[in-house]
Symmetry: none
Subunit: 166 residues, 4 copies
């Protein structure tokens, strides 16, 4: 908290006028970042286009966001991997909000059209976002450098995992 106050150029006590305590600050910051992330992913969403195209839009937008906002990405990740984020997950996938809803809708459609495997939503989430998160982390840690081509190929490969083999 002291460090945050200093970087913010305010007194240590001032933070507590805006956030009840450290936990609240952490949670609110997360929620703000999440809103930003969701908004970015929704930008230019190709409504009405084939399932595959919409999937690729979401995947590439997400991966690009993570690697171009490394601090935000690390924060979101750490949040998810902390006690704070434990309860979060279920709500997120089950709720009808923002990004998640978009993706769930997409899958539902895909399953109905038989272009997507008939698997539980959690499995689809894992197949679609697991690799993206993992790779974004590697990029942020400097273990690999992702260019536009690699981003596209990766998301395409995720699609291959999800899509129904005809």
């Amino acid at each position: 908290m002291a460090e945050i106050a200093e970087k913010a150029g305010v007194g240590a006590g001032t933070i507590y006028r805006y956030f009840d305590n450290k936990d609240v600050l952490i949670i609110q910051l997360y929620q703000e970042l999440e809103r930003d992330l969701v908004a970015t992913v929704q930008e230019g969403f190709p409504t009405g286009k084939p399932v595959r195209e919409r999937f690729l839009h979401i995947g590439t937008k997400l991966l690009r966001y993570c690697i171009s906002h490394p601090l935000y990405f690390r924060y979101i990740e750490q949040y998810h991997n902390s006690p704070y984020g434990a309860s979060l997950r279920k709500d997120k996938i089950m709720d009808k909000s923002g990004d998640q809803h978009l993706f769930k809708q997409l899958l539902k459609e895909g399953i109905a059209e038989r272009v997507v495997k008939d698997l539980p939503i959690f499995v689809h989430f894992a197949l679609a976002f697991g690799p993206v998160i993992s790779l974004a982390r590697d990029h942020v840690l400097g273990l690999v450098t992702l260019d536009e081509e690699l981003i596209f190929k990766t998301v395409e490969a995720c699609w291959d995992g999800i899509k129904e083999n005809t």
Copy 2:
């Protein structure tokens, strides 16, 4: 440390007879768990069988291990997402040790045989293990319940992501 001592039913100072300090304890515990994990994955490895079969072996063994040892899994995950594990990642993938080596060898072979997409190793790792980790976490948090069938289908889907589309 106090909590560990209490759960172990020993005095606070006793821990320090076995571990120089907190960091050493954390690191050694991780290394022990990792050895256990690698050993499990290698059990019954179908050497000589097709790439796909070997891939499915590794994937399912890993996923089963994670959900049947939820505490170990959570610990390993947290370790990776902590300052301790920061440097670990690159070494792990680049080194020729244990599990990683097995998997790298598999990919190399798969790429040579043109049954696996020609992508960088980090991308393959992400495609193969990202979903497994993500799903294991969901299972451990109680968000989904994986049975043997779902485990198999998930790893199969990972294979679909990795394999070359003919």
Copy 3:
């Protein structure tokens, strides 16, 4: 540290706003006391007067300071006899700062005038200050009570040890 905080009537953590850690506290306190001691010894220094008179000034001022500030004296002594003060000694005698410089200059002059024995500086330090410190300690411990006359006679005797026998 707990005891210091309590005697200071502050919380345990408050000390660390003023001193980075225990070592810094100990060192800074010493430096402050030393400055005070040196300033006292320099008060009314009879520049230009004979070597003997200047020597007596330093010796008596020092001895008086030690017995009138027993806590300061004990602290300085303990500091010198601790790992902190180990390296201090050589620097002190060799450096050209404060009190030490005054004394070294005095000796040099005395040796040139042949009123002081031609011995290494460390020996002179020992002859001049060894007895003063030893006696101050005795006084502080209540083993002897020094009055103005005894102070003078003692320092005079130190001078007898240092001065050249003609």
Copy 4:
């Protein structure tokens, strides 16, 4: 205590068969060293010879002992400068035992003969041993190197401090 046990090649608990506790060990070790020191100083003591000669014997023996047994010397010094040694001092000078007695006898005689200044015993102790201790410390710390000549000159200078100026 652990370190002592290890260097002694015994178990940690074994020490407590020979010493009730740490304090007792420290005190007994000191007493042993002191006996050794006193015995050394008394070796070849020139009973019946002039006061000056006897004084020089004690002083040089003492100084030589300190610099040739640096560890013993440091231990004795630290002991004196610790809470243990606080009470010790008075007893030592006032008691009629060993070394101290020898020295007190010497002074008494010297004062009677008017070859030694008529000063309290504590002052004489300071004048005689203060410089020796101080210089021994410097030698042990490597700040100065004492040879036989310097040892003699130093003790002679101590004598000059003590002796009556005729």
